[in-house]
Every structure is written in C-alpha cells, then in structure tokens.
C-alpha cells in the first residue's frame, strides 16, 4: 500500500477532483513530482485542467495530519499524539459501548466521494452488515443523490446510460444547471473541440447565471432558479403536442406515460405560461423546444443545478421523461447524462455508500437483496431499514439520538447546509472521530479522535467516474507520517469489535475482489436478481492484475459468459430496464417552487457553486499558489442594480444574511447575475477567511425523495459591511490575524497573502503593524521600513531580514491599495535590490510596466494586462493569443474569459 515511485518511473493514476476522472501520468525526477495528462486514458486523452496540472503543488507535507491524536473538542490546539493502537482501541470500545447501550442506530458514519471504492466498501460492510445500522451517508448526498433517486425511479437501478464518447456523437447537447467549463473543464473541452470540428453540433445551456459555459453556448436560457420542472414538463408536452414521440419504444419499453403527460400538460401546457414561470423569453424557450424536437441525437447533461434542489429528483425525472418519450436513450449520442461532482461519487454508489442503499446496487427494502448480501458477507446482522441521510443525520446528532460519528475525508462544518448547526451538533456529540489528511480543518476542531489518512499520491485503489469508468488511483509517494489507508483503519476497528475474520484484509486488491464478487454474486443471466452493475470479469484479480488494471467501464461480463445478466454493454440499448417489469418508468413530476420564497426581509436568491481553480473546502487546492491567483477571495456576485439598492459597491465588503446564518465577502459585479440573484462560492472556510462559510446561510431544505439539500436557492439579504480601513499583508510565515475584523488568506509562492479590513485599532499604526507581523515594538535592530500619512490614515511597512523581504503590510481607509502582483514577485528574490527597496513601499516597480495584472490563465500564469496588450497588438482570437502568450493552450478553461477580454478590449470605448 505504501508504493513508492522509483526516480523517473512513470506511474499512471487518476485525478482526485471532479467526476470527469482524468488519467494522470506522474513522474518523480530528483524528488520533484511532475504531473501530466495520461494520453491513454479514455476520459481525458492526455489533457489536464488547471487543478489537475497543479496536483504536484498539493502533495507536500505542509499542514498534514501526521499521527493519530486525541483532542479535547473545541481546543484543537491541545491535541495529544497517541499510537494507532490506542486510537483504534478507543474508537472500537466507544462504538461498541454506545451500540451496546443505545443500539446500532446510535452510531453513524459520514463519509465522502473522496474515498476510494475499497474504503467505501469496508465502511459500508461494517455499518450495514456487522454493526447493523444503515446510518452511513456520504457527501455524495449533497451532490448526486437526486440523480441516483431519479435513475432508480425511472430505470429501477442507478445507471448512467451515457458515456463521454456519446457527447462526441451527439447533435445537440443540453447542459442543465452545470458550469461545465469550470467544474468539469476537460469534459467541456471535449465538447468544445467537437463543436469546432462539427459546427452543426449545437450547445444549449440552461443556467440562471451567465458563466464561462454559457459563453460558448448557441443558446442560453437564464432560467429562474428552481423552475426546471416547468421547463421540462413544458418540453414534454411540446413534444407530445407535436407528435415528437417514439411510439413503438414507448409502447414496448415504458410505463406511466398517460399520467405523466397529463400532469405535464396541466402544469406546463403552453409555452407562454412556462416562459413566464421560468422568467424566460418565449422565443428563446420555443427555440430550445424546437431544437430538441428536431434533433435525434440529443444528450441532456445535468449537474448540481438540477440535483441540489428541493425538487431535485423531480427535475431529474422531468428530464428523463423527455428522453423516454422520444426513445432517445440507450442509443449512441443520446440520453440523459448525470455528470457527477466528485471523483468517486459513483464508486461509492456501487458499494452502497448511501444510507438508503444496501450494496452493489441492491436495496435495503428488498428482503431478497438483504438475504443475498448477508449471505455473501456471512454477517451476523443486516440493516433492514434506510438510515439517516446527511442532513437528518446531523439533526439526529444535534438531538442526541446519534452519539458517535466517524467522519471521513469530508468537511461537513463547511459543506452542509445550516452549517452553524453542524458545529453545534458536533460540539455536543459524545464521540467525534475524524479521518483526514489535514491537521486543521473546520471540522477537525470538533474531533475527539483524529486519524491521519493518506493523501492523493499515497492512496491505492479504484475510483469510478461519471461514465461508469473504473480506474486506478495508484500510490507514488510514501505515506506521510503515520498516515494509513481508510479501509485499514475501518478494518482494524472492525477486528477490535470482534469481526476479525470478516475484515482480515491484507491488501486493497482483496477488497476490490470481494466487491467484484458481490456484484457478480447470483447475477448471472439465469439468476433471479439481475443487476446491471456486474464486475464478473474483474473477479479474481491478484495484486499484479489489480496493479495493471486498465480503465474499464462497467458492466464487465466474465470472459466467455457473454454480457452480464444477459444485458448489452450499452445500457438500455435493448430497451430493457432494471425495473420489475423491465420497462422504463415515466415519473409524473408536479412542479413546485423552492420551499423558502424570497420576500421583503430576504429579497435575494442565494445561489452557490464552485470557482474554476478551487475544490470543495480548499484543504488541497488551498495549498497550491498556482490555484490561488484566478479567484483569490470569497465573493458575492450580484446585479449592479441590486448592489445599488443594497448600498454595496464593487470591491467593498458585504454581509449576507439568511435566516440560518451570515457571511462577509467581497462584492463583485461581473455582469453574470440577473436581478434578485446572488452567487457565493462554496470553498472558503475558517482556515482561509474570517467569515466566509456560505454553508452557514444555506437553508436546510432537502428533496423529499433523495434528501439532497437545496444549495441553489436560499433567500438572503445583502448589506454593506462597514469598515474604517482596508489593507493587505504578505508574510513568509503564517500570521495569527487576530486584529482584523475581516481577512482572507491566499497561498502564494514562498508566502501567505492576507487581504484585510477592519474597524478601530487600539494602537497607532506603527505599533499595530509590528504586532501583526510579530516584530518587537522597540527593537531597533530589525530592518523595518515604514511610510505613514497619519491624517490620511495610510500606513505601509516592510520587514527585511538579511536583505530578503520577510513581510510587509499596507493599510488605507480606501480601496486604493497598490497592486499585489509586483510585491508577490519580490518574495521570489533571494535579496532585495536597492531599486526594489526604494519602490517597496510604493508597491510598484521602479521601472514601470512589470505589473501584468490579475492572472487569467493559471496554467501559464498569464495576466490580464499582458493579454489586453496582446489583443491591442492584433491577437483577436483565443488561438492567436495562445500562439503569442500560450494562454488557454493547456486546459483551455480560460478560453471563455479570453473571448470576453477580446470583446471588451475591441469594443469601442
């Protein structure tokens, strides 16, 4: 498990970020980790996005949790190092004790789409088969569960019937609630590339926001948040009214059309009312309907905008309905396509890592399934009722019903809705066990026991991406400190709870094999319980076979046996579904608005999502300087008129409040938001900013079927966050940041940068600044430059150590601080030249023109000013810019921004 790559040897592994699941080539050359895209991997064919390209910046030991620790909750600083044995004994005893006293449902696991399939498998087996509770849920609940539920309702099993290759055969791609360009860059690049090759391939994007994705669309429908069901019911009735139906298919292979159609017609029968409901232009809407109607090969790809909703499951089914009606499913280049958010969201689903699943795509509520699984596991018990879903799980903790929770590879204090309540709940919980790679996260502050997990590069196992493709994550670095695999920690606890024989795994490939065997167990063509998920062909892999495992899409029938369960390898291509009657189900979807409507108190709809260069709660991307430059601060994007009404200005700070919580972020008026809508990224948290956990605001509303929270629609108010001064600081060492009312930490090369703002300060600036940078007030020996314009409230100082800049701090009552770009550069210099020293406190190079502006292309670090200059000099296309500056030529995710810059720069002023 602690595989180490010999110098220079190529290791093929898989990216740990989004659900695209790109193959990554890793080489270690004299200690330096180099990453590049895997030419042979079917998902990315050699490409990597910014985040993937910067993976090597995240594998260092900085900030890692090195040893098991006992911590008294709420005093994270006072962790006590213990041995693995002490830690595991304690966890096992405590869990056993609580189970004995309060029953199995008093303990729970909250795991993650970041886990490997094998970790997931062991956790699920322990909980459902041996502890006997289904209280194991995952952050996939926040991501995929609506799609899963939709799939199960329509198909009878959680099957994604589309692959990436289909995108390249489609004639119309409809992206719903997905900023694919930023969240799945490589997938999007494949679409863009195909579109360049085949201009007749049309792209429609349905998203309340204008995004990098909509920039590339032939048609953008800025749908009003939460009204997707109206839109697709409208489409369904439009298709029905115009006879765009595959009658033969519907007759032979589906059920429930009549009721579904009638509800669709009653709720969205005419375009005008749908357009009004969705706040769309009637012409644009009917244009979309007609495009859909006239195009055979259409893929409707959907993501968080659909899933993360109080009506998420209905949204999914309203989309699937349209594909069932037109028979555009199970065919090349057509079908409903759920794009997963996480690297192993699907792998988790395969092993039953959700509280309402059993294992291997079998169901808790089916006795036959329970018997099959229990028999296979030879387990004493088997959970027989669904466990608590993420939000309910933490409610139960808050109510004291669940007394012990083991959190793995996720950060619920940041990522769950009503996140302050999560803090409260964990604060009360009898036993909080946290397995993580990082020593300090917002969640680990509540841990009683901390278990060091292996990071990417140390982990070894498999993941499954959005297109059912299983690929290996391979270790190329030794585990840092005493970090161990999560499956190992789980197995050790299981052994200590008396299940040794069932968890005696020596190596990860044994777990994969057991999983594969379970998928194939009684899953032959003649068996009574056919499941589409079948890895028969992967049964019996030994360590070498497992290590050599190439990316492969399931189902994987055993050689010779013909296709698994007698099914074709392309799902539904034979018209057979996994329902009892093998028919695809039309699910009637009655549209409903989000539970909490905006009103006078909370007049804006808060939408949340990712930015291009960050991942989840930044525990990894936050370590990479390259990724800190694109969007460096938490922000709220809103419409200029709304900003005017709220009295907030671009670049200044605003406090957002909902009924559940608040945060303070920088105001941005990007022009991408429609009236009454605001957007805040999900990433920032207590480790990177004073007050930017948007999770604290999000309403704890969940979809009644999937239990997935409504992340895209929370009523909020926006007000100015008044400060008397703004500032920033650079430091080679991390600063305490106690004095500032608001701060964000940004990781740079060789330094941390802090953006600051504050109210009153208790001492004059010179003393204050010295205190902030940890310099003794009266130490005359230190090399301390300062500039003060007292009456203007401007102060600037720099600390130089051995002719090298160590730290600097700039404050001003206005937002007129100098550009950070040039100062950052100074930290790269081993010694400060006089000319730089003179310019230091101006914050500008002595010789003008060195400031390249905000980074647009992170891959090659090309700044906006540089690009604008190039445009003025005649580069009027992204490719021209690429030839001149290389920008946009690697991951291409900045191409939309390049286009925008070209448009702006060339527009007559």
């Amino acid at each position: 498990m602690d595989g180490v790559s010999p110098e220079g040897k190529l290791i093929k592994t898989t990216c740990p970020y989004c659900g695209t699941g790109c193959g990554v080539d890793v080489r270690i050359n004299n200690g330096v980790v180099e990453v590049s895209g895997d030419e042979e991997h079917p998902a990315n064919r050699g490409k990597l996005c910014v985040k993937g390209s910067a993976l090597n910046e995240t594998v260092g030991p900085g900030g890692r949790l090195l040893y098991p620790e006992f911590r008294r909750a709420l005093s994270p600083s006072r962790g006590r190092r213990v041995s693995w044995d002490q830690a595991l004994d304690h966890v096992a005893e405590s869990f056993a004790g609580i189970i004995a006293e309060h029953g199995p449902d008093a303990v729970a696991w909250y795991v993650s789409g970041q886990l490997l399939t094998e970790d997931y498998y062991v956790a699920n087996k322990l909980a459902k088969g041996f502890v006997g509770t289904a209280n194991i849920d995952t952050n996939s609940r926040l991501c995929m569960s609506s799609a899963v539920a939709g799939h199960k309702r329509a198909f009878g099993e959680d099957i994604v019937p589309v692959s990436y290759d289909d995108l390249e055969q489609a004639e119309l791609i409809v992206l719903v609630g997905s900023n694919t360009a930023w969240c799945h860059p490589i997938l999007f690049q494949r679409i863009v590339k195909e579109k360049e090759r085949r201009p007749e391939l049309k792209l429609v994007v349905i998203d309340p926001r204008r995004t990098a994705t909509t920039e590339m669309a032939d048609l953008h429908l800025p749908v009003r948040g939460g009204t997707d069901v109206w839109l697709f019911n409208g489409l369904l009735s439009f298709l029905h009214q115009h006879g765009i139906e595959d009658t033969a298919f519907v007759e032979a292979h589906t059920s429930g059309l009549a009721r579904t159609i009638s509800i669709a017609e009653n709720t969205a029968g005419d375009i005008r009312s749908v357009a009004a409901q969705c706040k769309l232009q009637e012409t644009a809407l009917s244009e979309f309907y007609r495009m859909f109607a006239r195009t055979e090969k259409v893929i409707t790809a959907f993501s968080m905008g659909v899933n993360q909703s109080g009506a998420g499951t209905d949204k999914v089914n309203s989309i699937i309905n349209c594909h069932l009606l037109t028979g555009r499913i199970g065919k090349a280049g057509a079908g409903p396509f759920s794009i997963t958010g996480q690297p192993n969201a699907m792998g988790g689903r395969e092993v039953g890592g959700l509280s309402n699943m059993l294992a291997a795509h079998m169901d808790l509520d089916k006795a036959a399934h329970r018997d099959l699984v229990q028999g296979f596991w030879r387990s004493p018990v088997i959970a027989d009722k669904p466990g608590l879903k993420a939000v309910d799980l933490f409610d139960a903790i808050d109510q004291g019903k669940v007394k012990a929770v083991w959190i793995m590879a996720t950060n619920p204090v940041v990522s769950l809705p009503d996140a302050d309540k999560i803090k409260r709940a964990l604060g009360k919980c009898e036993l909080v066990v946290v397995s993580d790679v990082m020593a300090r996260t917002d969640t680990s502050e509540f841990a009683h026991v901390l278990l060091p997990a292996q990071g990417w590069g140390e982990k070894d196992g498999t993941v499954t991406n959005s297109e059912r493709c299983i690929s290996r994550q391979r270790a190329f670095l030794p585990a840092i400190g005493e970090a161990r695999p999560d499956w190992w920690a789980l197995s050790q606890v299981a052994c200590r709870m008396g299940f040794a024989e069932h968890f005696a795994y020596e190596s990860v490939h044994e777990i994969f094999d057991e999983h594969a065997r379970l998928t194939a167990h009684q899953n032959g063509p003649e068996d009574a319980l056919p499941r589409y998920l079948n890895l028969d062909g992967l049964v019996g892999l030994d360590r070498t076979d497992f290590d050599d495992l190439q990316p492969i899409r399931w189902p994987v029938p055993a050689a010779g046996k013909g296709s698994a369960a007698g099914m074709s390898l392309a799902p539904f291509s034979d018209g057979r579904f996994q329902t009892a009657d093998q028919r695809g189900c039309f699910v009637p979807t009655t549209p409903r608005l989000p539970q909490h409507a905006i009103g006078d108190d909370f007049p804006f709809v808060l939408n949340t999502g990712r930015v291009r260069d960050h991942w989840h709660t930044m525990t990894r991307t936050g370590l990479a300087p390259k990724l800190a430059t694109h969007v460096s601060e938490p922000f709220v994007d809103m419409h200029p008129h709304d900003a005017l009404i709220c009295g907030v200005r671009e670049g200044e700070l605003a406090r957002l409040r909902s009924r559940w919580g608040s945060c303070v972020v920088r105001v941005s008026l990007s022009g991408q938001m429609s009236r009454k809508n605001v957007f805040v990224p999900i990433h920032w948290n207590g480790q990177f900013a004073s007050d930017a956990r948007v999770g604290a605001l999000v309403n704890p509303v969940v979809d009644p079927v999937s239990g997935e929270p409504e992340f895209k629609h929370t009523p909020v108010q926006v007000e100015p966050f008044l400060v008397s001064w703004y500032g920033f600081a650079f430091s080679r060492s991390r600063l305490p940041m106690t004095e500032a009312a608001w701060w964000t930490r940004i990781t740079g090369e060789d330094f941390a940068r802090y953006e600051l703002a504050g109210r009153r300060i208790d001492k004059p600036w010179p003393q204050w600044a010295r205190a902030q940078l940890g310099v003794a007030a009266d130490d005359a020996a230190v090399d301390w430059l300062e500039y003060e314009d007292q009456s203007a409230g401007i102060y600037r100082a720099a600390l130089v150590v051995e002719d090298r800049i160590e730290a600097c701090i700039f404050v001003s009552p206005r937002q007129d601080l100098p550009s950070r770009a040039w100062l950052s550069g100074l930290f790269g210099k081993s010694s400060l030249e006089d000319v730089d020293r003179m310019a230091l406190l101006v914050g500008e190079p002595f010789s003008p023109g060195e400031d390249t502006g905000a980074t647009v292309c992170s891959c090659f670090g090309v700044g906006q000013k540089t690009i604008e200059k190039a445009i003025e000099q005649g580069c009027h296309t992204p490719s021209a810019l690429g030839r001149k500056l290389k920008c946009g030529t690697n991951c291409g995710s900045c191409v939309p921004e390049l286009k925008a810059l070209i448009a702006q720069t060339l527009a007559p002023a």
Binding site: Y787, E788, D789, S791, A792, V800
Partner: protein, 422 residues
Amino acid sequence: MSAVTETPARARLVVIGNGMAGVRAVEEILRLDPDVYDIHMFGSEPHGNYNRILLSPVLSGEKKFEEIVTHPRQWYADNDITLHAGDPVIEIDRQRRRVKAASGLEVSYDRLLLATGSRPFVIPVPGSDLPGVIAYRDIQDVEHMLRAAQDHRSAVVIGGGLLGLEAANGLMRQGMDVTVVHVTDSLMERQLDKPASGLLRNALEKRGIRFMLEAHTAEIIGTDRVSAVRFKDGVEIAADLVVMAVGIRPNIALAQESGLHCERAIVVDDTLQSLSDPRVYAVGECVQHRKSTYGLVAPLYEQARVCAAHLVGMGHSRYPGSVVSTKLKVTGIDLFSAGDFIGGPETEDLVFRDPRRGVYKRLVLKGSRVVGAVLYGDVADGPWYLDLIQQGRDIASIRSRLMFGRTFCERNNAPLAASETA
C-alpha cells in the same frame, strides 16, 4: 586725502559691502546694462569677493582659499568698478548723498546700495574677548582656526547650528578634539525636526565629535589665552580654542546712524528700496523684508536680481520673499530642509523611515500643498520638493506617491509631469 568732487559722466552707484549680496547685485546690474552706472564698491575685507558658503570646505581642508575666490581684483578692473577693499564706509550723509570711508575718502552717489551683511553674535560672557575665542564668519576666522589646529588640541564650538557643526567638522578634520556645546536639546533646530537632528547627531558622534546639549555657557576661562569653558551648572571643559557660532546679527549700525528706518534690519519694500530714502536700496542679510530676515544665500540672490532691475530702471519684478532651503556642507552627511518643516495644528505630515539605510524623510502638507520638507540620508528629491513648495502646486493627485520622489510621481503622465518645471 582730497575729496572726489567732479560730477561723474554717468550716474554713480555706491555699494557698501563687498560680499556675496553686493557683488551679485552688481553682477545683475552689469548683466542688464553695464553702462548705466559708475560703480564704487567699499568692503572691509582687504581682497576681492569670495564664496562665503565654501569657507567650511576650506576649513576642513577640502578646498583652498584660491578656489573659493569668485571675484579677484582683476574682475573689478575689467568691469570698470572702483573697488575700495579694506576701507569700510563709516558714515553716510544722505542730505549731501555722500559716503565717508575709514580712510577719509568721500564719494558722492546717485544711488546707494547697502549690502553690509551681518556680523556674528558673540555671547557677552566673561572671557569672551580672550585670545583664542573667535567667531566663524570670514576667511580670517578660518585662517585663525587652521593656525590653532596646528599647535592646539582641544576645541569647543559654541552653537549647534549649521555654521557651528560645519566648524566642528572642519576642526575635527584638522585633527582637534571637538566638543559642540548647544543650548537647546537638538542640533540645527531651525533647520531640522527632532528625529532628523537625532540621526545627524549620531552620524557626527560616529565621526568623533562630542556633544553637550542644553548646556549654557557661563564663562570662558583663561589668562593670556582661553584654557577652558565653564557652564552654568559648574561643569568645566578644557579648550585652547573656542568658536562662537551662536548666530548672526544684521549689520545695520551705519544705516541706523544715517537715520534709515530699521527694525531688526534695514526695512525694505518688495523692490528692495529702503522705506526712508528712495535713493537707498539694500540687499542681503542686512535686510528685513516683510518681517523676515535671511541668513542663507538663495534669498539674497533673488533679492539682488529684483533690486538690480529697479536700479537700472527696468523695474517691474517684485521680491515676494523666499522659501529657504538648507544643505549641510559636511561631506558624507546628506541633509536637506526647506520651508515650514515644523508644521502646526493645520498641517499634515508624511513620514518615511528606513533606519537601516539611514534615511528619514518628512514632508509637511497644508491643505493639498507642500509647505515644508526635511530629508536626511537621501536628498535627491530636495530640489523638486523645494520647487513644489515655491510653486505651491496642488499635490492631491500624487499625495500617495509624493514621498517616494519625482520618478514615481511623474510616471505615466502623473499630473505634475505635465505642469511646467522650475
């Protein structure tokens, strides 16, 4: 000696004072119209004019006297000026428009220009008349000090102002043990704020000069020559040479006797014409203009220019008074100050400190204008600040960069780059 009686072909200008002010005024006149006057110049020193500002380099041995002579006797001859060097005027008869020199020589005038300058102030303490107690004013004083340096060890300089420090530095360079005695607690308090004067003191102490601040001289002790200085608190320090550099007093005895209106100095209007007598003008340290007197060279040049214009009848320009700037002529110490650098309740400060590089800068703003500047360690932008002060330019737009000098302020067409440069 017989009086000069024949009436001159040209109008006659008599200049009393053969120092920098007088000579500069004459130069300006010659430049405007060499033929308008028959010029007579009287001076107490027995030679042509020299650059008094450069006495310190002579004292410190960095220059020779010949090098600082600006106007040898030949110059007067060439310009057809009658020079009476070493023959000071002792009386002015304004009724008969005549001056009488110490030699008894009398010269009549049509216009009279007083450039009598100032004389060093000597504290009236017992022993201040002893041999070895001198002022620091002219070349004789310098020669005296140089001689003393030959055969004496310890010198005491009374006065921590510009002149005092230059003298101290010079004497130290000549190998003497020098102690500077100063009444207030900070050196050059008229040119520097406290932080800068602190830096200056450190720098000079590093060079070996000792300082006694807030020391009040009570008596100078000695029999045939000075041997020690005693202070009010009884402390006594040995001294074979005492240099008094406690300031100057405008030299106005002659003017007062002739009944010209004087206050601290000869009072003149914006044309440098005396209030009492339209035929009489005055320039330099002996002048009081709009309540101020000046002890520095820059204002006196400005006065000379205006005054000359009026004397040759091309009078249009006015003298509005000067913003003075100082540079200490001590090699290796860069120090610049200008305008009102102390400031008051209605002024604002910009301060820059870089102790490691020994740099201290302070700009004093009033509204959006610079009114004063103190630069220590890096004086490159001194002249530019002085210009900003004199032009009274609005610096609001470059306030944030002002401290960092002209280069930063005038880049990318910053407002001041456009405006005219002085």
